[in-house]
């Protein structure tokens, strides 16, 4: 059998639902096992509610040993396992598998240790992101990555997705802030990856499993770095009459040697949507606004804010405001932070895209998105982690209208293709999941996809962990039909087209 067929083949479960429940009942308490449709309904989707599926069973282990036991049962029975944290993911990564077990880690929610001297927190995967910072706050420390869902999302999910946030240009993503994990393989074996030091000899499996979307194993304990809480933070709000000027201001700030704690852009439709919702006081006549946050010691902040304000001015901002106190700083941020719900209030549904592009291509990409609005007859508002090139176009539609839903999906796919064409990626921080699985066929060639499958195979020979997500099979790419084209050559010449 060739390697391609090997990775395309699906292993069939060896047991039926009844037998699977019997085996799982031997390792879990009755209230930790759900199998009636109505009980499992809350698990049918994650934060991407356009994709739903009921699993065969939901397993809710209460400790690490039970996670291992569930994995052993599923491995022996060749049953797929889809791990799930808080279910706030935006790419359908935790969408259940019809023949599989959804492994919910929400009961593993203990903060095991805060070491304020070594500046580390050891926690279980179900602990909420913000709960770590809350627990560290009495020591003047915090956990830096702050995805917008941080009040609800779990650290286990953050590791699975390599989550970012508005401060990651300066403080890094999850991968930069996790030191060690305890990790259960599909065979139920427990491994410790990383350590209490800052690096480890041998292959960097900690980096490999971070962002692997539940395809390689399940974390049962995570040690994160804690940083000293900055003494001061201040925000500059700048309004521009063109997107190009705002884009240039971003380049000028970075080019001047400043790494802001946060640097966010919103276009006019996004500004108008949030102003109706939170009244943050944003200038409504601006084509784009920038929010630039500086944090650190009072001396660092004062120096940086002065330089940032000057650059905004010389880059053509027609209005510049600097937050005078923390209340005003939070008010400036309130609009950006409520962009998604604000858009959700003015239209029935929206898709949030997540491409990342080289920053110098911003004006071109926004122009392309504007043209796609006409093509697909749908509106789009743009919010943008401008400092790191991560774009979140919000495509507005009504899911009750099937034609609109289909156009919105195609609109999203076209935006991702545009991101790839300018040298970017289909996902900066939300993950591929099920949502962007087809676009992976455009971003990667056959050889890269096969290499991913070979790595997956090293961890999970029967492809039981979150099958069908994150890395498409070559068969799926052939059926999708949009091939990665490199120097005029089709990458899948030997595969049949349907």
């Amino acid at each position: 059998m060739g390697k391609q067929e090997r990775f395309d083949q699906l292993v069939q479960p060896l047991v039926d639902k009844h037998e699977l429940i019997r085996r799982l009942s031997a390792v879990l308490k009755p209230d930790c096992l759900l199998y009636d449709a109505e009980d499992m309904r809350p698990y049918e989707c994650d934060g991407l509610s356009a994709y739903t599926q009921l699993p065969m069973v939901v397993a809710l282990p209460e400790n690490e040993a039970q996670v291992q036991a569930v994995m052993r049962v599923c491995h022996a029975a060749r049953v797929p396992v889809v791990a799930r944290g808080a279910g706030t993911g935006l790419s359908g990564g935790a969408m259940p598998h019809a023949q599989g077990v959804t492994l919910g880690l929400s009961k593993l929610k203990k903060i095991l240790e805060i070491d304020p001297v070594a500046r580390m927190a050891r926690v279980q995967p179900g602990v909420r992101n913000l709960a770590i910072s809350d627990a560290a706050a009495p020591y003047g420390l915090y956990y830096a990555p702050d995805p917008s869902s941080q009040i609800a999302c779990s650290i286990g999910g953050n590791v699975a997705e390599n989550s970012g946030g508005v401060h990651c240009l300066k403080y890094g993503l999850t991968v930069h802030n996790v030191q060690k994990v305890r990790f259960v393989t599909i065979e139920g074996e427990l491994l410790e990856l990383g350590g209490d030091g800052l690096d480890n000899p041998g292959y960097d499996l900690l980096a490999l499993i971070t962002g692997s979307e539940g395809l390689l194993g399940v974390t049962t304990e995570i040690t994160v770095k804690l940083l000293p809480t900055p003494v001061k933070a201040q925000v500059v709000l700048a309004a521009f009459s063109s997107l190009v000027d705002a884009g240039n201001a971003v380049a000028n700030i970075i080019g001047a040697g400043i790494i802001p704690a946060g640097l966010e852009m919103m276009d006019k439709p996004a500004v108008h949507a949030v102003e109706q919702f939170v009244h943050a006081g944003y200038p409504l006549d601006a084509e784009a606004i920038l929010l630039c946050e500086s944090d650190g010691t009072p001396e660092e902040v004062e120096n940086e804010i002065a330089r940032v304000s000057e650059i905004m001015r010389t880059s053509g901002a027609f209005e510049i405001r600097t937050s005078r106190d923390d209340a005003e700083r939070l008010k400036f941020w309130s609009g950006r932070k409520s962009a998604f719900p604000a858009v959700g209030r003015i239209v029935p549904d929206y898709f949030c895209m997540d491409g990342t592009i080289p920053k110098r291509r911003l004006a071109e990409v926004l122009d392309g998105i504007s043209k796609l609005q006409d093509t697909h007859q749908l509106r789009c508002a743009n919010v943008f982690h401008a400092g790191d090139g991560n774009l979140h176009p919000l495509i507005m539609f009504d899911a009750n209208d099937d034609a609109q839903l289909q156009r919105a999906k195609q609109f999203g796919s076209d935006i991702l293709r545009l991101c790839i064409e300018v040298g970017g990626t289909v996902t900066g921080e939300h993950g591929v999941g099920i949502e962007k699985i087809n676009e992976m066929c455009i971003q990667f060639g056959q050889a890269e996809l096969l290499q991913f499958h070979a790595i997956k195979h090293a961890f999970d020979a029967f492809a039981l962990l979150n099958p069908g997500k994150a890395v498409p099979t070559l068969r799926r790419c052939a059926e999708f039909g949009a091939m990665h084209v490199h120097r005029g050559q089709t990458k899948f010449p030997e595969l049949p087209r349907f």
């Binding site: 991968v175 030091g197 990342t356 990667f444």
Partner: protein
């Protein structure tokens, strides 16, 4: 494919077919660090040049054979730097070697490691396939992070052809403070300062002196100095270069590198220690028994690496059996015929 890349690819394919081995080699400055130097050298030093650099993107892409010194000179023109401060063990140290080793310098505990700054790679795997992972963007979660997996793999998983790295601006000002402290007090001081919002960018302790580097705008550096005390160090640049490039006498002889919890008390092992990274990195110059060193590192939540000298043939580190098995499977996934640097890290890796 450029001519050189297709030549590399053909050599890899031929080696896979014949069952022979190749050892990717840049400047050769890390040849001392090997369990076994197997395979015929595959000289990558001719494959050099900066492919792309735009200071406003904070990203540089260069070919693997490019000397680190060339990259740093180019970055300096843009007011930027490799904030992980990889050691330049010789003038010929290359980007490929820097990423293959994954070793970082004094700024690592404050700015990040080589692995942290790697954004994308172009590699040849053990079948000679030309593959690209990651790219020239800061945030990218599409596909498994094979770029960071390559970092620190010492050429055992594939041949690194090109690397994209995140770079950072050079600090506006730097000041180094010197404190007369014994090891225990130095460890306590470094960890206490690291828990406070101070503009730290390097710590090194040896010969009962602790050196602390501060980086940032002048007022911020001055305020931190007033808070911390200590004596300004005059030839600070030379001092940090000698730690970073390992030219101090401490780095010769039989040397262990322990990466452990920063608060670990002074090691109860014979020999002399040099500390970095708030105490999370301990360079132990010692003829101590290997079993004792590995045990001490494990007890301190980390790992010991046989860095230089002594018997390296049993492996540079001691993975536990389950971990070794998984690492072997990952190696087989990238290099199924074991073409690349067999047994460089460990008799079976």
């Amino acid at each position: 494919m450029t001519d050189l890349v297709s030549e590399f690819s053909q050599r890899v394919q031929a080696a896979a077919k014949q069952g022979s081995a190749l050892r990717p080699r840049g400047g050769g400055s890390k040849d001392f660090h090997a369990c076994k130097l197997g395979g015929e050298p595959l000289d990558v030093s001719g494959y050099q040049g900066i492919v792309n650099y735009d200071p406003t993107e904070l990203i540089i892409t260069a070919k693997a054979g490019t000397p680190i010194c060339d990259i740093e000179a180019t970055l300096a023109e843009g007011g930027q730097m490799l904030a992980c401060e990889p050691p330049r063990l010789s003038a010929g140290s290359t980007l490929g070697g820097c990423v293959a080793a994954g070793w970082s310098g004094p700024r690592r505990a404050y700015a990040g490691s080589v692995r942290d700054f790697v954004l994308g790679t172009r590699i040849l795997n053990g079948r000679g396939e030309d593959l690209r992972f990651g790219g020239e963007v800061m945030k990218n979660v599409a596909g498994f992070d094979l770029s960071r997996l390559m970092t620190g793999s010492f050429g055992t998983l594939g041949l690194i052809l090109e690397v994209s790295l995140k770079v950072l601006p050079r600090p506006l000002q730097e000041l180094t403070l010197r404190f007369d402290l014994d090891e225990a007090h130095a460890i306590a001081a470094m960890n206490a300062w690291a828990a406070q919002p101070l503009p730290l960018s390097g710590t090194a302790w040896f010969d009962n002196k602790l050196y602390v580097r501060l980086s940032g705008p002048e007022p911020a550096v001055r305020a931190a100095k007033e808070k911390m005390g200590g004596e300004p160090q005059s030839d600070a640049q030379a001092l940090w270069t000698s730690v970073r490039d390992q030219t101090l006498p401490h780095f010769s002889g039989t040397l262990w590198r322990l990466s452990i919890k920063s608060t670990t008390p002074a090691l109860n092992l014979p020999g002399k220690s040099l500390l970095e990274w708030n105490g999370a990195l301990r360079w132990l110059n010692s003829a101590a028994d290997a079993t004792a060193v590995h045990a001490a590192a494990r007890k301190a939540g980390g790992h010991a690496l046989r860095y230089r000298g002594g018997d390296l043939s049993q492996g540079l580190f001691q993975p536990d059996p389950a971990m070794l098995k998984l690492q072997q499977r990952i190696m087989a996934a990238l290099d199924p015929d074991n073409v690349f640097s067999p047994a460089r890290l460990h008799p079976s890796l």
